[in-house]
């Protein structure tokens, strides 16, 4: 028999909270879960009265819980915000079309207007077509890059300046680990921010899609609690894994996180906090500046983070931190320089070893192994830039030459990816276009707009 709820002492406990192991009944769990999200919203000043806010809705548990909780909290605490649902249709048959049905039901249940924006109309490519082109490996990169812009573009269309997403503590912890494993500290720093906004300085056009604020009200909410909230509230959500995602690197980080949670449930929030603290150590990071200096780092190419501006978890000390950070900036840069030199030397020596070692080079083995493994690390760093030493990027913000989206590069990542896709499109188009019998193939040709087919 279950023990009594630790809060009301009346009902039997049904839930064990991962963060503190407290045992609660469903009613007490609902109120504490909602209260904590309210606290996240108010302590970070996420919303302001009169604001129109788009909830990035996928039909999955996180965004469904987010929509439900925000509606509840807005009614309870009178935020005075206007909530709408914004969905992205990546064009994945058997996944997104089903989950969009859920979003449509949610729109009715929560009485929120819904807008759906498709990859095909934004980019001329559905994810099904992208996968057809690039294969299952690496397609998540496309999807992620496209999605970020898609939400911004969708929001801009609706005249909304603020998009909230359902990223939870597990997601943030995963992202922290992933960036740690990749050695991508600048991104680690940005991905831990609760608010990410593309700076308004980048664009004076109020309808520009480069000027949208993002926030994660569920950043400190455990995935477990989100699922339990959805379950006990009987929320209508959709659960099928993206059919293309099993190969994603994120999956490994996710499994690692879940294993850690089993051993020590507080590990997830601890990783999030470690991420926030590490973020403060990254030179040029915005973490801790409260958004004032958010223009230092561009966000356009962020998978989900974006350029940071968060008031982290700690209320005080942030500004003091910023000052310290400014002072330490030069020191950190110097320190970076040291690393560069080391890497460079190793890299240039190691180049031959990478090949040599493969053939079982026996001379000076130890040294060579060490060097070559270093060299490999450097090489892996980023494909073509193998020998460019790592440096915390001090990027200059600009706009993409092609689409106008905020980017540190001349052409934004989405446009680069699109260019690659479009280059090889005509060939495939002809092949597919002339095989009308298969229904699956039919679906693809329909989406392709057939311009090329007729042109050729």
């Amino acid at each position: 028999m279950a023990p009594a709820c630790e809060t009301c002492k009346a009902n039997p406990a049904q839930i064990v909270r991962p963060k503190d192991r407290s045992k609660l009944c469903t009613e007490c769990f609902f109120s504490v879960f909602e209260a904590e999200i309210h606290h996240t919203i108010t302590s970070n000043a996420l919303f302001h009265r009169g604001e129109k806010i788009a909830i990035g809705a996928s039909g999955g548990k996180d965004s469904t819980v987010l929509a439900s909780v925000l509606k509840t909290l807005d009614e309870r605490h009178d935020y005075g915000v206007e909530l709408i649902l914004l969905s992205i249709d990546e064009g994945i048959k058997g996944y997104r079309d089903d989950s969009l049905m859920t979003v449509k039901r949610n729109a009715k249940q929560y009485e929120m207007p819904l807008t759906i924006v498709g990859y095909d109309e934004l980019y001329g490519w559905t994810m099904d077509q992208v996968v057809e082109q690039v294969g299952k490996k690496g397609n998540c990169t496309y999807c992620g890059v496209f999605r970020r812009q898609a939400l911004d573009r969708g929001a801009a269309r609706l005249g909304v300046r603020h998009v909230v997403t359902g990223h939870n503590a597990d997601d943030v912890a995963e992202t922290v680990l992933m960036n740690l494993l990749r050695g991508d500290l600048p991104r680690l720093s940005r991905s831990t921010s609760i608010v990410t906004s593309t700076p308004s300085a980048a664009s004076t056009d109020p309808n520009s899609h480069s000027n949208i604020k993002r926030s994660k009200p569920l950043k400190y909410a455990y995935e477990k609690e989100i699922v339990l909230y959805a379950h006990h509230k009987r929320l209508d959500y959709f659960t099928t894994e993206c059919i293309y995602s099993p190969e994603a690197f994120r999956g490994s980080a996710r499994a690692l996180i879940k294993n850690l949670e089993r051993l020590r449930p507080s590990a997830i929030l601890d990783v999030v906090r470690s991420g926030e603290d590490m973020a403060k150590l990254v030179p040029g990071s915005d973490e801790g500046c409260g958004g004032a200096c958010s223009s230092a780092v561009p966000a356009a190419e962020e998978e989900e983070g974006g350029c940071g501006s968060a008031n982290g978890r700690t209320a005080g000390g942030e500004m003091a931190n910023l000052e310290q950070q400014l002072v330490q900036g030069d020191v950190a840069t110097e320190h970076d320089l040291e690393v560069e030199i080391t890497l460079k030397t190793v890299a240039s020596q190691g180049t031959n070893d990478v090949n040599g070692n493969g053939n079982g080079n026996s001379n000076g083995k130890l040294a060579h192994v060490a060097q070559s493994s270093n060299a490999r690390k450097v090489r892996k760093n980023k494909g073509g830039q193998a020998f460019i030493p790592r440096k915390t990027p001090k990027q200059v913000m600009g706009q993409c030459r092609i689409c106008g989206y905020l980017s540190s590069q001349d052409v934004c990542k989405a446009c680069v990816l699109l260019e690659g896709l479009n280059k090889s499109r005509p060939k495939n188009n002809i092949e597919i276009g002339y095989e009308p019998e298969d229904s699956e193939v039919q679906g693809i040709t329909n989406g392709v707009k057939q311009v090329h087919v007729k042109g050729d």
Binding site: G166, I226, V227, T239, E241, K258
Partner: protein, 114 residues
Amino acid sequence: MSDQAPKMKDEDTLSITVEFTGGLEMLFSNERKHSLSIPIRNEDGTRTNMAALVDYLCQNLMKDPRKDLFILDGTVRPGILVLINDADWELEGEDKYEIESGDNILFVSTLHGG
């Protein structure tokens, strides 16, 4: 010790409902809800508990060969929540909970996208 279980009689079985959600139904013939009759005792004579049920589900109910998506290191995979009559199984002794007739056991995966 090993008293080979002969033909099952009604009093030897437990009628329970097992549900899979959050994407787990995919591993169980795409059926969310399963009504099962399981032996009340294990082969060694002990009462059927959650550990035995999980084992039973893997052996008898799961057609999908990817057992590791459901169990890992002999227990339910981390990231899958288990609710016994809508209460977290951590409150009921997890693996060691002895199953009663009429129990509703729910497995929810949290591993799927949101």
